[in-house]
């Protein structure tokens, strides 16, 4: 918990959004600028500006243009969208389940989505009329099935659904589904690296195609969640309490879980299972703003995208030229944060 003085200063809406916005912009510029070939910031701005407003520039090397527009920009946008999707989904799951440890990864939803994606890719499935949207749609379907199975199972163990019970159930599901993915990939005879790519996530070599896949789902999913911020606030006091306050709990819960699944499914479809983003980011956003979902969700989007852009930057530069899966970086940061939150909670339970 931050000291009240810090919280008070940051309780200024404009300050919170400015900090988050600046963080995102810096991340984008760093993400595009740094690499085997460095691109200076003014040139990045020129190239993107020219592309956006349609005027031509001649004083920029074509190589820079190609690197920025064809390689780094799509990669940065993709990691940004994935980060934003996972972060807002995590924030929604946490509010809904009153569980600060919930996120698409710890709940097993990411693994479920992976199974859907791997099935689509390795059996080369294609649903008629939807074309390349088959991949995200199947991932979303599998996320949805997984989250419901996890919650049903957790409720079976214990009606009150304690924080630890849900997480434990999620971890069981996630291990099991991870094993299923490994088995499937191994059986189709592909090499091991690809398995790791799926299990730990990666945003490399995806290009603009994948942005087109995730973008509509990101807009729909976050749109739905942003329309349910009041309900999320109410439900973070418990489902019964929310109902007493006038929330149509059954309907809203379904809507929020669906939106969370859409976001997770689409993110996993394009990048594999990247862990802990949805856990760390809402926690961070709560520290700068507070738990009110009205601002927690937009702030999670901003910080989440910036965070994953930076994580991607580190993953491809730290042992360059070899690229680490991005999930390695997020897990290195996320797992300790998970541990700290768990400790804090236990300490609070003991003192309270």
């Amino acid at each position: 918990m931050l000291r009240p003085s810090i919280r008070k200063f940051l309780n200024n809406k404009i300050a919170a959004y400015t900090i988050a916005g600046i963080f995102l912009i810096i991340s984008i510029l760093l993400g595009i600028g740094i690499g085997t070939v460095s691109v200076p910031v003014p040139i990045i701005i020129k190239i993107i500006g020219a592309k956006l407003f349609g005027f031509s520039i001649n004083d920029v090397e074509p190589m820079f243009k190609s690197i920025v527009l064809n390689i780094r920009l799509p990669r940065v946008i993709l990691s940004g969208l994935v980060g934003a999707s996972l972060a807002i989904a995590g924030a929604a799951f946490q509010g809904l389940l009153r569980n600060p440890l919930a996120d698409p990864y710890t709940l097993g939803v990411s693994s479920g989505a992976s199974v859907g994606a791997v099935i689509t890719l390795f059996f080369k499935l294609s649903i008629p009329f939807v074309g390349y949207f088959t991949l995200p749609l199947l991932s979303i379907l599998f996320s949805f099935i997984t989250i419901f199975s996890v919650l049903t199972f957790a409720r079976k163990i214990e009606r009150s659904m304690r924080v630890e019970t849900i997480i434990l159930t999620g971890i069981i599901f996630s291990s099991f589904l991870g094993a299923v993915i490994s088995l499937m990939i191994a059986l189709t005879g592909d090499e091991l690296r690809q398995i790791i790519g799926w299990l730990l996530g990666s945003v490399s070599m995806r290009g603009w195609e994948y942005i087109k896949i995730i973008l509509p789902f990101f807009i729909i999913g976050s749109g739905i969640l942003l329309l349910n911020v009041k309900e999320l606030n109410a439900m973070s006091f418990g489902e019964e309490r929310a109902q007493h306050l006038g929330v149509n709990v059954q309907k809203r819960k379904l809507v929020i879980l669906t939106a969370g699944s859409i976001l997770t499914g689409a993110a996993v479809a394009v990048s594999g299972t990247i862990g802990f983003v949805g856990l760390v980011i809402p926690h961070l956003a709560r520290m700068v703003w507070g738990p009110d979902h009205k601002h927690l969700l937009p702030l999670s989007i901003l910080i989440g995208s910036g965070f994953l852009i930076l994580a991607d930057l580190i993953s491809r530069t730290i042992i360059s030229p070899t690229e680490l899966p991005i999930g390695v970086i997020t897990a290195l940061i996320g797992a300790p944060v998970f541990a700290v939150i768990l400790l804090q909670r236990k300490r609070m339970e003991r003192s309270g």
């Binding site: 009153r98 009041k230 007493h244 709560r286």
Partner: protein
């Protein structure tokens, strides 16, 4: 306001509440009582719309409960449960503001000026506005409960349902919360329906009580009718005794612990009496049930030490209670365990004796001086100034008395004393008529509350007969001793 008609239902097919019917009027504070598992919480969940019920109807403002949407229902009914879990650190104001959810319209549910006004008003009324920016996780249990009460009231409901609202709260918060609720029912016409575990709290605050037993209504009536010894003993299967509240016309219950059998019954007699020039003192091994008039420990209570103190004739003190208490402390007595009296009579003239009858006994101690003897029938001829001389009568009963017997004992003892003065022809010096007592007499009835049960003490009952005889005998002797000393 709210009407429940033949409602049955429960969880998974098994009916927890069976054929319940009652109605609650606007502005009533309505309590639901019952032992664990009697269906109180289930009933409340049905009223709040959380739990569907099998048969019957619940009507709110004349409309069926099922026809309300969750938002409409939240505008009518608010619920305060016994504890709320918070996983995130919302501020007090954010928490209270959530109560306005049901009143906000449109896709984006904008925060209106009215919403803000209601939230500010409620926070002020409940007394949480001074810490509105604080984090609810930092608050104490009582403060948290107040915040959630403010949240419920921000819904501007017509009916407030509470599930053991005072659970986990300390004494002062319990009272504070219920005082607040009572005030809201009176001032704002709020209807409150609350589950209580504490019968005494329920009896103190509720207008009407509903007692449930195994899912059915045992009784639905005003507190005085519901909180009856037989009913409560029957439903809760425990020993309990009703007694009146000292200040408020409300029934109260006390638990009766299973008595540990005393190895040997104590008998109060002269062996426990200590006598000096300054005090006569009797120390009982066990506390005795007492009814007395005196300087210290008067009224009814339980006391273990009994002190009759000699003071000189011109004793004068502005606060004689305080002075007596410090005197007792200086002698090593605990004032709260002591019944203390004063007399100007020389303690050497005390008269005491044990009287026995079939299965019980009484020990009587009397100090008597008649310098200020008064004829009660002519007492308006007397001024208020105090004169020395007092008859202090102690009656220890080795037996178990009812409240009624205590009062009858006092009557019988007084009559016997008066008769003694009559036979000695003690005269009121001002009127010249035969005196009935003195102006500063005190009496103590103390019973061991063990051994033989003695229900009555009228003059012809066994106890009454013994008291009459004993008091007459001791008073006569004590007055004679004092008169003899005066003459000599």
């Amino acid at each position: 306001m709210l009407s429940v008609q033949h409602v049955s239902g429960g969880y998974s097919g098994e009916d927890v509440v069976k054929d319940i019917s009652f109605s609650v009027n606007k502005g009533e504070l309505f309590g639901i009582l019952g032992p664990n598992g009697s269906g109180k919480t289930t009933l409340l969940k049905m009223l709040s719309g959380i739990l569907p019920f099998g048969q019957g109807e619940i009507l709110i403002g004349g409309k069926r409960l099922q026809t309300y949407s969750p938002k409409q229902l939240a505008q009518k009914i608010a619920v305060l449960s016994q504890h709320s879990t918070q996983s995130f650190s919302y501020t007090v104001k954010e928490t209270v503001a959530l109560g306005r959810y049901a009143h906000q319209k449109g896709l984006f549910q904008t925060w209106s000026q009215e919403d803000e006004a209601v939230v500010q008003r409620v926070m002020k009324q409940i007394g949480v506005s001074k810490f509105q920016e604080k984090n609810i996780q930092e608050l104490s249990g009582g403060e948290k409960q107040r915040v959630f009460l403010a949240q419920s009231l921000a819904q501007e409901p017509e009916i407030l349902l509470l599930d053991e609202p005072t659970n986990h709260l300390d004494l002062s918060y319990q009272k504070e919360l219920l005082d607040l609720l009572k005030q809201w029912t009176i001032e704002n016409g709020l209807t409150v329906i609350s589950i209580f575990h504490d019968l005494n709290l329920a009896g103190l605050y509720c207008d009407r009580l509903l007692l449930l037993e195994k899912g059915r209504i045992k009784i639905n009536h005003v507190p005085n009718e519901v909180i009856r010894e037989e009913t409560i003993r029957d439903v809760y299967q425990t020993k309990i005794q009703k007694h009146p509240h000292p200040k408020v016309a409300a029934p109260q219950m006390v638990l009766l612990p299973e008595k540990q059998k005393l190895e040997n019954l104590i008998q109060i007699n002269e062996s426990l009496l200590l006598q000096s020039d300054e005090i006569i003192c009797l120390k009982s091994p066990n506390p005795l049930r007492t009814m007395s008039s005196g300087v210290i420990g008067s009224g009814t209570g339980w006391h273990q030490t009994f002190v009759n103190r000699h003071v000189c004739k011109d004793y004068n003190c502005s606060d004689h209670r305080e002075e007596m208490a410090s005197f007792l402390l200086s002698k090593g007595f605990e004032p709260s365990e002591t019944v203390g009296m004063m007399t100007a009579v020389l303690l050497a003239d005390v008269e005491y004796r044990l009287f026995e009858a079939g299965g019980f006994s009484i020990f009587v101690v009397v100090t008597a001086g008649v310098g200020n003897a008064v004829d009660a029938s002519n007492s308006d001829m007397h001024g208020v100034e105090m004169m020395p001389g007092t008859i202090n009568t102690w009656i220890f009963v080795n037996g178990e008395l009812t409240e009624e017997a205590f009062i009858q004992s006092i009557m019988t003892a007084t009559e016997a004393k008066t008769k003694a003065l009559h036979d000695l022809e003690v005269r009121d010096e001002i009127t010249g008529t035969i005196a009935t007592g003195t102006s500063t007499d005190s009496i103590l009835i103390a019973a061991t509350q063990a051994g033989k049960g003695l229900d009555y003490a009228g003059t012809v009952t066994p106890l009454g007969k013994l008291i009459s005889k004993a008091v007459y005998h001791c008073t006569t002797n004590a007055v004679q001793k004092s008169q003899k000393r005066k003459r000599s």
